[in-house]
């Protein structure tokens, strides 16, 4: 779910853009220039994931994966999400151009938090890892949806109903994202575990 143009009040549009810029600058400072292509990869994967649909009964939802982005990139996750949001907006109008800042905050801050949670929760064993992945994936969605609702409510009490509906509508997404993140993490652990350690090592070396 992405906020389109003209929904948020001017002050919130400008404010979230400023917050997004601050976080992006911080995230970019913490990023090794050699990792830039990797970040572009994850941005693109974040974008492509939004085109992958998972069926729920008669309807379907698309993946959001802020949690997985956080797991893969750690502190660089915010800049990756920013890029992904920019591309989604420019290419497909998923989210408006004037709301890029708000959408980046809505998805990027959850990515940072769930990435941090994953790194502090993970253990050497696969079950611990899967648990951490599921929690991070689910938390990413919870935070993103709460962020969406909060942003909508900044428009005034008139937006309360829409915000509530948006939150309820994302309940099934929470379980799907949690499961997808767990399976993705366990797959990566078995196939290419260094991807899960990348962000961690980059920070340890610093």
């Amino acid at each position: 779910m992405h906020i389109s143009d003209g929904v948020l009040p001017p002050s919130v549009t400008v404010g979230t853009a400023a917050v997004a810029l601050l976080f992006a600058a911080w995230s970019a400072r913490r990023t090794d220039p050699d990792d830039l292509p990797k970040i572009a990869v994850v941005s693109s994967a974040f974008f492509v994931a939004s085109l992958i649909h998972v069926p729920i009964g008669p309807t379907s939802v698309h993946l959001l994966i802020p949690g997985v982005v956080g797991i893969l990139l750690g502190r660089s996750a915010f800049i990756a999400v920013c890029l992904g949001v920019v591309l989604q907006s420019l290419l497909f109008q998923f989210g408006g151009i004037t709301a890029i800042g708000a959408n980046a905050c809505m998805m990027g801050i959850p990515a940072l938090i769930s990435g941090w949670l994953f790194r502090s929760m993970r253990g050497p064993s696969l079950p611990r890892l899967i648990l951490a992945g599921a929690t991070a994936g689910g938390l990413g969605i919870v935070l993103a949806v709460v962020g969406l609702a909060l942003l909508l409510v900044t428009g005034g009490e008139d937006f309360l109903g829409v915000a509530k509906l948006a939150m309820y509508a994302h309940l099934p997404v929470l379980f799907i994202e949690s499961a997808i993140a767990a399976f993705t993490v366990s797959f990566l652990f078995r196939v290419k575990p260094e991807l899960l350690d990348m962000s961690f090592q980059a920070h340890a070396a610093r």
Binding site: S4, P37, I52, V54, L83, L91, G161, I176, L188, K192
Partner: protein
């Protein structure tokens, strides 16, 4: 219920007719998009797929006032107008912005299918506002309520409907301008213009890289989906589907990382140091500045008119 609320009673079928009509319009728009896209000549089969298939700059070869405009001034002026349009608060001014947006699409000679695709992508989000806001907006004094027979428990607020329509019109007006902004110059030129506008070059490099990878990965993702369905995989609502999709997302990431690493190594070994070479020079002519001034002034004029004019009660909210 608050004092001073006007109540209008309407027969029951009215909301269903309106809802049905909107749904039909939506379906018709989807069919139209399919029809228009189907006529697009697609390179069929054979050989390595063309990863450079442009999406945002598909009309870059055309000729129009937008194509001839210096990209730096175009990006700055149109973004300024977009923000002004997004901040409007009254329906007539938003409608004027919508007309300007539509005019821009016509002047830039953008084929209908591009803006149509953008509008349909927003449909779900905007539809939520139109359906939910009229019935959830708190009732205030001076509001007009529509009450449908047999549905008296669900009063329908005209103020809520107006608010939802305002949001939709603004969103459509801005979305219509995106194609004149992006499709009228090669994407690399637009990104170069961003560099000239003091966006950090590293960010612009990543935008270009990610923009390219999007098509590569989408292709890869489609290829994997084809392979999975060839092996009998069907998407259902169960844990197995989620496991397979989680694995395929992981596989997509692994393949993408490896591929990108190879490409990056190759780029570095050819002397890539953070910027792509190019001889593009921008030349701003007086006409470019004039166009820029027009858009900036139009945006500011709309915003000022929006804040200064007051409408008769009933249209105000």
């Amino acid at each position: 219920m608050a004092a001073g609320v006007h109540v209008i009673h309407l027969p029951l079928p009215v909301p269903f007719l309106v809802l049905g009509g909107t749904l039909l319009l939506w379906l018709a728009a989807r069919r139209l998009l399919k029809f228009l896209t189907g006529r697009e000549e697609m390179p069929e089969g054979g050989g390595e797929p063309d990863y450079s298939i442009p999406l945002v700059d598909s009309q870059a070869q055309g000729d129009s006032p937008f194509h001839r405009w210096d990209p730096r001034i175009k990006v700055a002026a149109l973004l300024c107008f977009m923000f002004c349009a997004a901040f409007l608060q009254q329906l007539p001014c938003a409608a004027a912005a919508l007309v300007v947006g539509g005019g821009a699409v016509v002047f830039a000679r953008i084929p209908l299918r591009y803006p149509l695709r953008r509008l349909l992508a927003m449909g779900g989000f905007l539809g939520m506002f139109v359906v939910v806001m009229p019935v959830t907006v708190p009732v205030k004094s001076g509001d007009t309520l529509l009450v449908f027979n047999h549905l008296s428990f669900l009063p329908f607020s005209v103020r809520g409907l107006n608010l939802a329509l305002l949001i939709c019109i603004k969103a459509v007006a801005v979305a219509l301008l995106v194609d004149p902004l992006l499709a009228t110059a090669p994407f690399s030129h637009t990104v170069k213009a961003l560099v000239a506008l003091r966006v950090p070059p590293i960010v612009c490099q990543m935008i270009l890289l990610a923009y390219r990878y999007v098509f590569v990965f989408q292709n890869e993702s489609n290829r994997m989906a084809r392979g999975m369905s060839a092996r009998g995989f069907q998407k259902k609502t169960d844990l197995r589907t989620l496991r397979n999709m989680g694995n395929s997302l992981g596989m997509l990431l692994v393949r993408s990382f490896e591929r990108t690493q190879r490409v990056h190594d190759a780029m570095v070994s050819r002397g890539y140091g953070g910027t792509l070479p190019g001889q593009l020079q921008f030349h701003a002519r007086p006409g470019d500045w004039l166009k820029g001034a027009f858009w900036v002034l139009a945006g500011i004029a709309l915003l000022v008119a929006d804040r200064l004019c007051t409408l008769p009660t009933g249209f105000r909210f």
